[in-house]
């Protein structure tokens, strides 16, 4: 369904992605981990059409989308929940959610409204603040909103950039459950960039480690989790006494 070959992206003169290869089938979940500045966000941004790759191909459902711009990529059924949340802060929570479905709003308004109800069900915390300017929410509430807005796009491929950032453990868990549910019910393909490695590997089929713009370790999630290097860096050498 998604095939990425030899992807190179620059920020100005900075060569950030240095030849990324991977492919995903429908309904699979890929977790990406890596240290600060490894290029994770750049990778998702490139896939979403925010950054233009200098070289390489992104083939989605048999179509090369590497030349498309962000708004065109969305129309193909790819949604990104970006880093830093990027909500519409002066618009109400409700408007934010509805805008998430922009590319399909006119086509199936009824479905959008049903999905909207579903989001409130997923994130009950948002229910009491539907008419508040979303910029006034707490950090975690905004993060929930950003994720819910991403889900409103009802994408075939959902990309999330550190969704658990700023969320309480209970909520992190429920998000992982929601992702699982999406996968099972709709066969949504998911790419997950996470620092909460344990949670991410818990739901992923595949995982890869990105370092300095290259994939250095990849494989089934379980395998990656057992890789000693990953264990040391991302899972902790045995937890501190608790």
């Amino acid at each position: 369904m998604l095939e990425v070959t030899n992807l190179h992206t620059y920020h100005g003169y900075l060569h950030v992605l240095r030849g990324i290869h991977f492919s995903l089938q429908k309904g699979e979940t890929l977790a990406i981990v890596g240290s600060n500045g490894a290029g994770k966000s750049t990778l998702l941004g490139t896939l979403a059409g925010i950054y233009a790759p200098q070289a390489g191909n992104i083939v989605f459902e048999g179509e090369d989308i590497s030349e498309l711009r962000a708004e065109q990529v969305v129309a193909k059924g790819i949604a990104l929940v970006p880093e830093r949340r990027q909500i519409f802060d002066s618009l109400s929570v409700k408007d934010n959610l509805i805008l998430g479905s922009y590319h399909r709003f006119r086509r199936d308004r009824q479905q959008v409204l049903r999905d909207y109800e579903k989001m409130l069900h997923f994130f009950p915390r948002l229910q009491s603040m539907l008419d508040r300017p979303s910029g006034l929410l707490s950090g975690g509430e905004q993060q929930m909103l950003a994720i819910a807005r991403g889900l409103m796009a009802n994408p075939k491929l959902l990309m999330l950039d550190e969704p658990s950032l700023g969320l309480a453990p209970l909520i992190v868990k429920s998000i992982m459950e929601i992702l699982q549910q999406l996968k099972q019910e709709f066969g949504t393909t998911i790419i997950l960039v996470e620092q909460n490695v344990r949670a991410a590997l818990g739901i992923a089929d595949y995982a890869c480690v990105l370092e300095r713009g290259q994939i250095v370790i990849s494989g089934a999630a379980q395998e990656v989790a057992e890789n000693p290097a990953v264990r040391d860096a991302y899972l902790g050498k045995g937890k501190k006494a608790m």
Partner: protein, 360 residues
């Protein structure tokens, strides 16, 4: 880790020295009194522009009313010297002082506003001051203007020629630039810039943002007032029309053309502004005989827009960047592909960090 202050601040005196030298030689290289006159004007504008770029480019506070301070300087000095017979130097100092006080009074409430509200408030301030120039006929002569301002005299030397004025204004302009540069490259400058970056964070780090905004506002007001006083003694006639809202906008244009977040921007902008408007007067009739003023206006507008579209940061930063890129290219031996890429990237939203987001 080696510390090297040069990596953040260029403090070399080489640039300013070369510039000063060139400026000193200029009247001999181009011995045209008309050209000298232009240069004197540019000198005044440089002083105003430098102050304004401190305020706008560094501290991030827009002012659409700086012509008012220019006018306050001009009128104060004019009234004191022509009507009360004070020496011109005292007039200039008094002009600066009055501007300082007005800036303080106006700044206290105004600088609490942000962005567009600030620009409206300063615009309003400019209009109000203009109206006072116009209506206080007893003091200012109203719209008829103010006559008989004596020429500047320092220690018995009268500055009556463009030549003399040139050597008065330009050293002063260079000094004002250096002063501004020193401020920028210090604790105070960082405080100012941090206000531009995030006022909340700035105050959470102990920066008294209101105080610094006020200080820089007052500083830029003094710059404008001094330039205004000098102007008054130079032309010996002033009228309110010279200090209208449009004049404030002209200052703004100069600063932005030059590059508001660069210390030389004010000077370069002033020079471009003056030579562009004067140059068009020469060029347009050559291209189209019997074209009148309107063509200059159209071309000026079009050039302004084109300049800013291609160099949104202004001339100085754009030239600096080009220079850097050239050197880099030389170093890396013609990697043209990268440049091609950069153009491609331009098509898409490159500067994510520039895009307003929930986080910022």
């Amino acid at each position: 880790m080696k510390t090297n202050i040069k990596l953040i601040y260029s403090r070399s005196l080489k640039g300013p020295l070369v510039l000063t030298f060139v400026l000193l030689a200029l009247p001999f290289l181009i011995p045209s009194p008309y050209f000298l006159g232009m240069m004197v004007l540019i000198g005044f504008y440089t002083i105003v522009g430098t102050g304004l770029s401190m305020l706008m480019g560094y501290a991030g506070q827009i002012s659409l009313g700086h012509a008012a301070f220019y006018g306050v300087g001009a009128y104060t000095s004019a009234i004191l010297t022509a009507k009360m017979g004070m020496p011109a130097l005292a007039g200039i100092a008094a002009g600066a002082l009055v501007a300082l006080i007005i800036a303080y009074i106006v700044g206290v409430p105004t600088l609490k506003l942000t962005e567009h509200y600030l620009s409206l408030a300063t615009l309003g301030f400019g209009v109000i001051v203009f109206i006072f120039f116009k209506q206080l006929k007893g003091l200012t002569g109203g719209l008829d203007g103010f006559f008989g301002i004596p020429p500047l005299e320092i220690f018995g030397f009268e500055f009556t020629t463009d030549f003399a004025y040139y050597y008065l204004v330009w050293p002063l302009a260079i000094c004002s630039i250096l002063f501004a540069r020193n401020v920028i490259q210090s604790r105070v400058g960082r405080a100012l810039r941090s206000i531009h970056g995030s006022e909340t964070a700035s105050s959470a780090l102990g920066v008294n943002t209101q105080k610094y905004k006020l200080q820089v506002f007052m500083m830029s007001a003094v710059y404008a007032a001094v330039a205004g006083s000098l102007y008054a003694h130079y032309v010996t006639f002033i009228s309110p029309q010279l200090f209208e809202a449009m004049a404030s906008i002209h200052f703004l244009i100069m600063v932005i053309i030059g590059g508001m977040a660069s210390i030389w921007g004010g000077m370069v902008g002033a020079a471009v502004f003056v030579f562009l408007s004067e140059g068009l007067k020469e060029v347009i009739p050559l291209v189209m005989s019997n074209a009148s003023g309107e063509f200059e206006i159209v071309f000026f507008g079009v050039l302004l827009v084109a300049l800013l579209i291609y160099m949104p940061e202004g001339l100085v930063p754009a030239l600096a960047k080009t220079w850097k890129n050239l050197r880099r290219k030389k170093d890396s031996g013609g990697q043209n592909s990268r440049n091609a890429h950069m153009e491609l990237e331009d098509e898409k939203e490159v500067q994510v960090s520039m895009v307003g987001g929930g986080e910022r």
